[in-house]
Each structure stands twice: as structure tokens, then as C-alpha cells.
Amino acid sequence: MSAEPDGQNREPDLGPEGLVAVRRSWSRRRTLEVFGPLIALALLVLVTTAFNPTFLLPENILNVVENQSFVGLIALGMTFVIISGGIDLSVGSLMAFAGGLGIWLMNTAIRAPEITAAAAQAQQAGMEVPYGAVRIALAGLFGWTGLGGSEVWGVLIAVSAVLLAGLAAGLLNGILIAKGRIAPFIATLGGLAAYRSLALALADGGEFRSASAELFKKLGAGGLDIPYLTNRYGNAVVLRWPVLALIAAAVAAHIVLNRTRYGRYVYAIGCNERAARYSAIAVDRIKIITYTLIGGLTGVAALLNSSRMNAVSSGQTGAMLELDAIAAVVIGGTRMTGGSGQVWGTVVGLLILGVIGNMLNLLQVSPYLQGLVKGVIIVAAVLVQRGSRTEQ
């Protein structure tokens, strides 16, 4: 094999028989890469159960999954982004902004009559108007179109606004990266700063509290009763919408990544962008779709999260969430360099992070130390995978 002008010194040079050996060592390192996270999860579950058998209660497990579902939806998108060789740091801030914007618009719609009346009153009395001009104009618009004052319309407006904001932000990231040729890290770092700032400005540093007392909450806090399954108080165990959304999204993401042209192209671009271009793949379009996808999933996560809390904190919601999402992807065996990875790996990564948090709670470890454990797990996961990758 000396005849390889472009050969890298990675593989030993072997004849055809040597191929078998290379392949064997390759499948060994693949095995660890693929099953490592799964084995880690199984160990964690065993240890946690040994310390506290209540861990295995269905409601507890569902609780773990539910807590991870918001970051989980985003991590699914992040899997695509990282496999394509990119990164998206803007998702946490975007979650706060999109969710906050939704509640703000919903409140404006629901309270449109009050706002219009109060504004008119204040103007007549020559007093300072208690609302901003944009809000008054929007309230007027909602009132004029007949959407104002209705909770149903308000919730519908919120849902579409959150999803659209997510998609639009993702599209913008994609265009900046693909057409503007800005490194993904930089482009989305801009979003990280900008969306947080927009959320803070819109809420004046405070909280967006939903004006919908019941309906809006049902999206995130509602769900299906699981038949024949009751918790220890005799109530039905509820499969909440965020959990269902995560499961459905994970299945869909797996199929898209493995069984569609788009998915195949994502791998190709992450593996070698230039070779992908030389294979007549529309690289720019695939990238834009990928960032729009994670934007959309961030929108869904923002919607479910703001609905479950029935509020959004402009400063706290989604803070550092981008790192949790990246951590789940990396623990799941996806390489930061792109070109390889699996959706189910990310799901396992999410569960590992969730189980650790739950275990530490059950073991009554100080919440301040949980970050340390998480950090150690992330680094250990990467070390194990790296170790299994180095040959000789």
C-alpha cells in the first residue's frame, strides 16, 4: 500500500488478508462505541435501584423521561446538527425567547379588550399609557379581527407564534451558516446572546406569566391516563404530552436519519463536506434544512415547557440548555467532528443524564454537586469512546 500518495498513517499497510484484521478491530471499536452508552445506562439503573428501589416505579421513570423531554427534543435536532459537522448554541436562549414571545402574544390577545380600553382611558385622562405602542397596536389588531378576548384564539396564536419563531430562528442560522459562510459556532453564538437579550427586553427582565388559566397549561401538563397503571396513591399514571412528543420525535428522527436521502446527506456532509459537494449534493440546502429542523424542535420544546410552567422566565428558562443537549448527543456516542452518530444514542445519553439527576436526588446529594457528576460523566464517556477508537 505504499502507493497511496494521499494515504494517512492510520491503518497498517496490509494485503487483502490484512483487510479482515482491520475490519475485525474496526468492529470491536464500533461495538464499544455503540454499546458503551447502553451498558453505562444499564449499570446506572442497577446501581440506582440497589440504593433505592422506588426508582423502578413507573411514575418515577416517566418523571425522569418527562424532565428530559424538553432538552430531549432539542438534543434530537442537535444530533442532526452535530452529525452534519456543525453546532447550535442558540437553542437555550431561543427556547426562552420563543416561549416568552408566545405567552406575550397570547396575553396580548386574551387581554386585548382590557388593553385597548386602558390605553384609551389613560390617553383621555392625559395620563401615562401603561402599555408599549407595539402592544397597544397588536391589541387593537386582535380586537379588530375578532381574535381578542378569546382564550382559545390566544392559545392558538401562542402555539403558532412559538413554532414559527423557532423555525424562523433556525432558518436564519442555516442561511447565515450555509450562504453567509459563518462558522456554526460563531453564527449560533450570536443567537445565544441575541435571543436571550430579546427575551429579557420583552419581559423587562422578569417573567412571562400566562393569562390562560387552564387551556394553555394542558399542552405541557396534560396527557393520557395509562390504563391499569396506578401510582402508590391509587391515581392513574399519566403519560404526559411532552413524553409522547419526545418518543414520537425520536422515532421520526431515527427514520429520517437512517432511511431518507436527507439523512444520508447529513452524514455525508459531516463526513466530508467537499466530497459531498463533489457528489452533487446540495450542501447548502441540507444545512439550512438541518438548522431549521433544530429550530422547529426548539420551538416545540419551548411550547411544551412554557405551557407546563404556564410561564417563562426571561433570564432562567433554557439557560445552558444548549450544553445539556450537546452533552446528551456526545454521551450517546456521536462524534463532535461529524459524520457519524445515531438518534438512539442521543436518547440513551438523555436517559443517562436524567437517571443521574434522579439518582442524586434519590440519594439526597446536594443539587450543587450534580453539575460535577454530570461533568465527570461527559468527559468519561468521551474518554471511553476515544480509548476504544485508538488502534494498536
Binding site: 500518495p5 499497510d13 452524514y267 463526513c271 466530508n272
Partner: protein, 508 residues
Amino acid sequence: MPTAQQQTILAVENLTKDFPAVRAVDGVSLGFRRGEVHGIVGENGAGKSTLMKIISGVYRPSAGRLTYGGRAVTATDPAHALRLGVAMVHQELNLVDTLSVADNVFLGREMTTFCFINRKESIHEARRHLARVGSAIDPAREMGSLSIAQRQMVEIAKALSCNASVLIMDEPTAVLARPEAERLFELIGRLRSQGVTVLYISHILPEVLRICDRITVMRDGKVVTTLERAKFGDGPSAEARLASLMVGRPMADHFPDRAAPQDATVLTVEGLSVQGRVRNVSFEVRAGEVLGFAGLVGAGRTEMAEAVAGLRPRAAGRVTIEGAELRPDQPAQAVRRGLAYLSEDRRGRGLLMGRSVVENVTIVSLKRYAKPFISRRAELAATRAHVERLSIKLARATDPVDTLSGGNQQKVAVAKWLEVEPRALILDEPTRGLDIAAKEEIYGLIRQVAGRGMACVLISSELNELLGMCHRIVVMRAGRIVKVLEGDEMTEENVMLHAAGVKAGADE
């Protein structure tokens, strides 16, 4: 008492290297003399590179002994080997693009005053070392701005600056054009007269026969023989003898017969220009024709091909395939209309090295297998058909393509383009770095697809390949077509004279 010329400077005894399932080097004993150019030839997998990597300290031998200038060691590492006077000029040229030439020459052993790099002195010293290899490159220039030939000179200067007495060159001319290669041979001659031993690995047998004093032939990890150059005689018979020693059987003429092209024109290029690279290039390729493109490195052949395929912006020009025009900057459209371009850069542009053979074969034609969900079974069946037709050697089609040997990787790259059943196929250096057997297979394949009416464009730096395969040869120089050679005009001499600009072409 041996003369200075006969003195052995480096020897290996019973050297063996085992990899998990194969003995790559098997009981090799060799002595290299001071100031000789020692050629090492053999097919891919013969163990040449492994042997050189042991000598330069990259690999530890499984058994055996190495003797550097009288000092016996059982194993070494690259830094130690360098101190013992053995330096390797790597195929992929290990240089840092963003640093200056001088910084690269002294990388890792910077000249310092206190703890600061002494820029003036290192530039001065670098200039001295570059002068020794006959190069006048400004040491202050940024590495990235140098041509490949210049980078190679820097790499050699760097090796010599470490007082190397043994220089290993692995396929050094694979990346060079003819005049650059000539300059390298001159330098090798000069180094020999200075007492430097050069271990020269190459597939290009005429080169080996021309510059080497002794030649070692390897096969299956063993040394077949080491012979003085004079033992081979002269002319083509010398090459044939060497080749038959390499493969262990007599070699036939390795170019299959040409069939006459059909009348229908498939690919037409008119007035094609690429900013700063290609000027006003026009040509036609008929069905079943193999049109060769000769030229020096930098003549603009690759840039021309990339512009035709829509991978590089055109400044001007029209490209049509069977009458249908290809829009510029639309690689996907070019493929749909039936144009395939096999890149010269297999690793960087041709293949997705970490992905499976199947994925690589179907990446361009994926639409056929996705309705809308990809049928893995159909993909695998199609890949198996290609594997069989091109006799690609692999364990499983789902293995990553980088587990294959170079020749088989190249066949996968070809398969990926045959998959789309193109009307015109542009092959850019399709046999670079392949051994004789793999080359012959690629030649046979080109004949086969041309015989089925495909229009083929063959860009190559190997003259005998162009002469053996093509119906006509277009010679390019500095971005222009300087001559189209046909029939009896197609001689090695004619191509070289036009490519180098010694002979003015009629159409210039």
C-alpha cells in the same frame, strides 16, 4: 576493506512485522550503502512502506535488528531515528501551512535567543539549507503559498537540516509534473555525491531504473532480490524484467486494444474560461472516444474539468451534453444530464472515507433507492453488482471504505459514478498511486465503458497511460489548449514538447 562507496550505513537483519492477521514484512535482511540511491519496488501490499516505517521509527518491528551506522538497535521511534540520521520525506508532506518556510524547516527545534525565536537567524539558516537542495524559495514566505514541488523541496531541506545521512522518499514524483520531477532527480544526484543515501520507493519503473544504483524488489513482505542497476539492461526490456520480478510472472502489454469511436458527439465545450486558471478552452468528445488531457501540474486541466462539471464558477463558455446545455455552478444538474467527474483527490473530494462502501456507491444515485424511504436491500444489491463487475476486494459492503486498499477505494469511486450511468465520464488521474495490477483493471474498465458508447475524458500525468488509452490527446499549458495530437503525432516527445512550451502548437 570496502571503499567509502561500499560502506554500509544502514542495515536490517531478519526484520519481521506482524499485524493482527498478516505478516507485512517477513524476515527481511538488507544493507544500504553510503551515498547510493536504492530503489525499492513492489506491488501494493508488498511491504515496502511498512519496511520504511520501521526504519524511520514509525512502527516497532515484531522481530529482527536494525543497525544505524554501526549501532544496533531493536526498535526506535521517529525522533530517535532522526538523531541516528534517518529522515523520511512523507507523501503527504507534513508541513504547517500557516507558518513560514523557515518556521517549518526548524519546527520542533526552533533557533532561540533566551526563549524567543531568533527569526533573523532561522531565516538565514533556512536559506542555507534550501540552497543546498538548489531552491531559492524565500524562507519568510508562508508555507501555504508554495506549490507542491516547492513544498517537497522544503521537506527535503528540512530533513537535511537534521543532518540526515539516509533520506527515505516515498513516491516523491506522484505529485510532481515532469520538469519538477527532473529537478528532483538532479537533486537526488547531488545528494548522492554528497554521500547521502536515498531510499527511493516508486511505482514508476522508468524513474527507478533511471536514478537508482541498486534496486530491491519486494513481494509478499519478502525481498525477492537486490540487483545492481546494470543487471537490468536498457530500454523497455529492463522495465519488463523489473515488472515481472515484482508480480512474479511475465507482464503482458497492459493497455487493452482501442475500439473506434462512434460518430455522435456527446460532450461539447466551447470557449470555457475560469478566472485566472483556464482560458478559452473548446473541445468535443464523441461516444466511445477516450480523449486525453496532458499538461504540467498547474496547466489548468483539473480546473477545466471542475468548471465543466459545475463545481467551479465559469467566467465564460458553454457546455452541452447531447445538445442539452449545462448551466454553470449546478453540479446536480450536470449529473442529471449525464456528466460524471471522478476527482483526482480521492480522499479529499472523491470518497466519504468514514462511511460504508454501500453509502459511497449510492451517494450520487440515492434518489433511485429512496421512495421516499431508502431500501437498504436494493442499495446492497446494486453495490454487490458493482463489486462483482469491478472485482472490488472487500470483506463486507457495509464496512467503511477506508478499510479498503487504495486500488479498491479507487474502484469504489469509479463505481459511484458508473452507478448514475453517465453519458460522459471525466476521469482525473484515475490511476494515481495504484499498482500495476490495479491500473490494468482501471484501464480495462475505461475500455469497457467506452466500448458501450460512453464518452470518456482522461486527465493524466502519466504519458504512457495517455498514449496507450486515448484516441486523441489535448495538451494544455497555462490554462490554454496548445495542441490536439492525433494518430502518429501522439508520441511521448510531442506531448512533452507542447506541454513544456518548447514547441509552438499550430493552434496557438
